[in-house]
Symmetry: C2
Subunit: 280 residues, 2 copies
């Protein structure tokens, strides 16, 4: 039977008891409204740990003042059923007040990794993500924690934070789960109109096209980006936030393809801001 | 036999083993060059936990560019002997490189508590303190950790950080240990010339005087501060950084004495910047 835990203190006690029994904890943090991508992370966690905890918490401090906090989709009962079916042991489902009391004032920043890609248009976003994940790590005490490659910058930020702050947790980054036509799964896909839904597979096609250009020997990043822009702009509702090619580890901009690179993009289609990426 | 542990990973494994054996860890973080004040913290830790760990680490990121990092006093062998005599179990004594690798970029900030008192003249100081203590908590995994009231703002910052980030550690704040003439013990007292050493007891006298004024019914903070200034300025080498009366919990400025207040001061005598405080 899946158990729902609402209090941070209760969750810590459960985590301590699991460790005292010599068992390992696998952890998948989420904001709920789960899709197949989340469930893939859960399945990886189950293969690699004894007890699986999924958190469902729409973290207010990672949303900007003009972002979609209040309308972010929520459906706890459905999430619970999906997780129960996957054999998850615990859902940690705290209130915002139990996570951030009225005197709350502690924030974790990673300046070298936050001011690129999504960090430029979403000021404070990665500060909010790093902070809540540090809190969740202290509450759930996981041995491993699984994140998706779809949120590439988030994965790099959290890996670095975990190492920098000496959290005893192993971070696993799982491949992006996609619809049949290539669209990366995301809770925000629900914002798309049927017409926009037909247009968005261009994002994955553009990434694949970039990959092929690199495999064919193209070295100049600006050439690759220009072609991706052209492809994506051909869709009437596409509003490009960024398309960038950067070093996959440091997230620093590069001019020529060299070593492992991350090709990442963020494009708005109506109310949905979609991100996607590949590592080449 | 006291054991000296240099690697963060090794220390984590020892902490895990202690917890697996059902024992508690008491922790006193320090920058070394120990005095009776530190040893008082160690003694409290020993009363309240099964295994005591003291860290000795002159944390570079809590010193400003013009501060005394390179000349901060160090004497590891003497420290080790003192701690062995107190029955301490482990000294965690890492290198700066093992704590901050070349890509290090994670910092913890508490904006509401950092821009008052010492935070105003020591920019970034409490960011460095909060960050290293979070790292040390993840490495040493203490059940309790003991800090001195002498560093009043540090104690408030670390209590809040521990609560905000859900660290499973209880913070204990111990009374300031003083020389017979009232001078608060500090590793930085060594910077004082014999002449300055004669002048510095004025700090404690001024604090005691303020306390008496409050007990006698004085409500106006500016009156109390004015008298403290007069007393301290009578010493030829005194160079006042600040004298403040603030709310003891929020560290916010107050005009009238109400509830628990913190009277705190920082005064330079030659090369030594001394701090002291009392709670009334």
């Amino acid at each position: 039977m899946i158990k729902v835990i609402r209090s941070p203190r209760a969750m810590q006690k459960i985590a301590d008891a699991i460790h005292r029994n010599g068992k390992t904890i696998g952890f998948v943090p989420s904001m709920g409204y789960l899709h197949e991508g989340h469930l893939d992370l859960v399945r990886i966690s189950e293969k690699k740990s004894d007890v699986v905890v999924v958190s469902i918490f729409v973290n207010p401090i990672q949303f900007g003042p003009k972002e979609d906090l209040s309308r972010y989709p929520r459906h706890f009962q459905r999430d619970k059923q999906l997780l129960a079916k996957e054999g998850v042991d615990y859902i940690f489902f705290p209130t915002a007040r139990s996570m951030y009391n009225k005197n709350y004032t502690t924030y974790i920043e990673l300046p070298d990794l936050s001011n690129v890609l999504c960090g430029k248009s979403r000021l404070g976003h990665f500060k909010g993500v790093a902070t809540v994940v540090a809190k969740l790590f202290n509450i759930v005490k996981p041995d491993i924690s699984v994140f998706g490659q779809k949120d590439a910058q988030q994965a790099v930020v959290l890996k670095r934070m975990t190492e920098d702050l000496n959290f005893p947790t192993k971070i696993i980054v799982a491949p992006t789960t996609r619809e049949k036509d290539g669209l990366a799964m995301s809770s925000r896909n629900i914002y798309l109109t049927p017409e926009q839904r037909k247009q968005v597979p261009i994002l994955y096609h553009a990434l694949q096209h970039a990959k092929k250009m690199i495999e064919d020997g193209e070295k100049k990043c600006h050439e690759i980006i220009a072609l991706m822009k052209e492809l994506i702009s051909s869709m009437p509702d596409a509003d490009i936030d960024y398309i960038e090619i950067i070093d996959a580890n440091t997230l620093q901009p590069i001019k020529e393809i060299k070593g492992k690179v991350l090709i990442a993009l963020a494009v708005k289609f109506g109310k949905a801001r979609l991100i996607d990426n590949i590592v080449v």
